[in-house]
């Protein structure tokens, strides 16, 4: 049997597709609100959670999940109270998370074993139990986005008007960053904490070049996310020496350039028809 269809590869494809669908779905709202870097902040903070979880004897994902959610709430609290500019608060979270994670993992002698896998992803060693966890997290994130789609869109389009019209904007913002934290925990094993934000943003950048509506951009983004995950994983499994997380993100960047070229051509045709 080809390497491409061995059990470990199929498990990787499953988690890759799950995260490839879910990350751009929530990423559309982040990009529209110019919060593209928040996934990075969550990823860095989750690293501290992984380290604390490992030191305390838990599976890395639980520590990542707990600390990312707490960090998301804290970050939004600081942002809404104007205590910190959003880029400054993100930078603080970045450096705090990485530094704390590095120190705790090194002190517990687990950096080489755990650190590399969670920072850069290791989808080829995903277990069946982890697939169920990623499935549960992705269903939760996707389900909540579906339920609150019209509210998230109204806030993403114009926060002040949404607030003036009676939408609970602060609560929706908190919910959105918590969903990002859940997605980061889900994507940790696929592309790693340093690259998971790329799947939140790059497929969305690609999808936005091909659509005339938000819903259309979301559909194209999900397509780009799934294609990036599958093609990247196929390349990594087939070739054998490629890091899967890196190949997924590099594939998504290539798809972005293809979409940008196709979008320019479509725009020219659209203009000519008018």
């Amino acid at each position: 049997m080809s390497r491409l269809f061995l059990d470990f590869a199929v498990r990787a494809y499953i988690v890759g597709v799950l995260v490839g669908v879910t990350a751009p779905t929530i990423g559309c709202f982040l990009v529209q609100r110019r919060l593209s870097l928040i996934g990075d902040g969550m990823g860095h903070l989750a690293f501290a959670g992984v380290a604390i979880g490992v030191a305390a004897g838990f599976a890395p994902v639980w520590g990542a999940l707990a600390i990312a959610v707490i960090g998301a709430l804290l970050l939004e609290w600081l942002r809404t109270r104007g205590r910190l500019a959003s880029d400054l608060s993100l930078a603080l979270v970045f450096y705090f998370g990485i530094a704390l994670g590095l120190e705790v993992l090194t002190a517990s002698g687990r950096f080489s074993g755990v650190g590399f896998a969670v920072l850069f992803g290791d989808p080829l060693s995903v277990t069946t139990g982890e697939i169920w966890l990623v499935l549960a997290l992705c269903l939760l994130v996707g389900g909540i986005v579906a339920l609150f789609y019209k509210e998230f869109l109204a806030v993403a389009l114009d926060e002040e008007t949404a607030r003036a019209s009676g939408l609970p904007v602060d609560r929706l913002n908190v919910l959105l960053v918590v969903l990002v934290a859940l997605l980061v925990a889900a994507g940790m094993r696929v592309v790693g904490l340093l690259l998971v934000a790329a799947l939140l943003v790059i497929p969305v950048a690609a999808g936005s070049r091909l659509a005339h509506s938000f819903r259309g951009a979301m559909a194209w983004s999900v397509g780009a996310g799934v294609a990036s995950s599958l093609l990247g994983l196929l390349a990594a499994v087939g070739q054998g020496d490629l890091a899967p997380g890196g190949s997924i993100v590099l594939t998504s960047i290539m798809l972005f350039f293809v979409a940008a070229a196709a979008g320019r051509r479509a725009a020219r045709l659209h203009t000519r028809r008018q």
């Binding site: 609100r33 019209k150 109204a154 002040e160 008007t161 019209s165 005339h212 259309g216 951009a217």
Partner: protein, 235 residues
């Protein structure tokens, strides 16, 4: 008729710069008022106080019988801000922008049904964008974008319409149609407040022209407004 907007002895300033001082204003259901005057006179400040986006330093603001910071009250208000406040990161169709105006009234967890989409189509038709409903908002002219924002404010059938410079960028030939649509809504019981530096757009259809003069809201006639401009009183 029911009082829908009530400012009592309202004072407000940006830091040490006073904008309103001891201002009173009362509007009733079915009234159509235009706030006129120069930029910086405080027209938009009054609107934002009515929306609960600003809090008065003194006095009280009540709209639709409640506090403007009450979400239930806000859901009964349609608001069109001045110009396009949206970021242009992702494409958004005209239909999606207008449908966003239904999100607050529809309620969380309730999906848009066929009747809601009909309301969206009707609002888009009312501002003359029927042929462009599927187009990306950011690819339209400034006037077309403004019309979409007006449709978003009107789509939820609000009891109070607060519009900040609603005719900005809109072709002069289309303005009477929009003014007539606002008059029609006022006749059906909606209170309409439009901030405009040029009340000529509405003078044939509005009931009152209001100005903020010496930190107070006062009512003037159309002729008085033009006299003020000619003598530099509002310019």
């Amino acid at each position: 008729m029911q009082v829908t907007v009530q400012l009592r002895d309202v004072g407000f300033g940006y830091g040490a710069v006073p904008v309103l001082d001891g201002t009173d204003l009362e509007m009733r259901a079915g009234e159509f008022a235009v706030f006129a005057g120069a930029n910086g006179s405080g027209k938009t400040t009054v609107l934002r106080l009515c929306l609960g986006l600003l809090k008065p330093d003194s006095g009280s603001v009540r709209v639709l019988g409640g506090s403007p910071s009450d979400r239930e009250v806000r859901r009964r208000i349609g608001y069109a801000p001045q110009g396009l406040r949206m970021v242009t990161s992702l494409p958004v169709s005209v239909t999606e922008v207008v449908a966003a105006g239904l999100a607050p009234t529809k309620g969380v967890l309730r999906r848009m049904d066929r009747r809601d989409w009909r309301k969206v189509d009707t609002a888009i038709e009312a501002v003359g964008l029927g042929d462009l409903s599927a187009e990306c908002l950011f690819e339209l002219s400034g006037g077309q974008q403004q019309r979409a924002i007006l449709a978003r404010a009107m789509v939820g059938d609000p009891e109070l319409l607060l519009l900040d410079e609603p005719t900005t960028g809109i072709d002069r030939s289309l303005r009477p149609t929009l003014a007539a649509e606002l008059r029609r809504r006022a006749d059906s019981g909606v209170t309409v407040v439009a901030v405009s530096h040029d009340p000529d757009d509405f003078h044939e259809v509005c009931d009152r022209i209001l100005i903020v003069d010496e930190h107070k809201v006062s009512q003037i006639t159309h002729e008085e407004f033009h006299t003020h401009i000619e003598t530099g009183g509002l310019g």
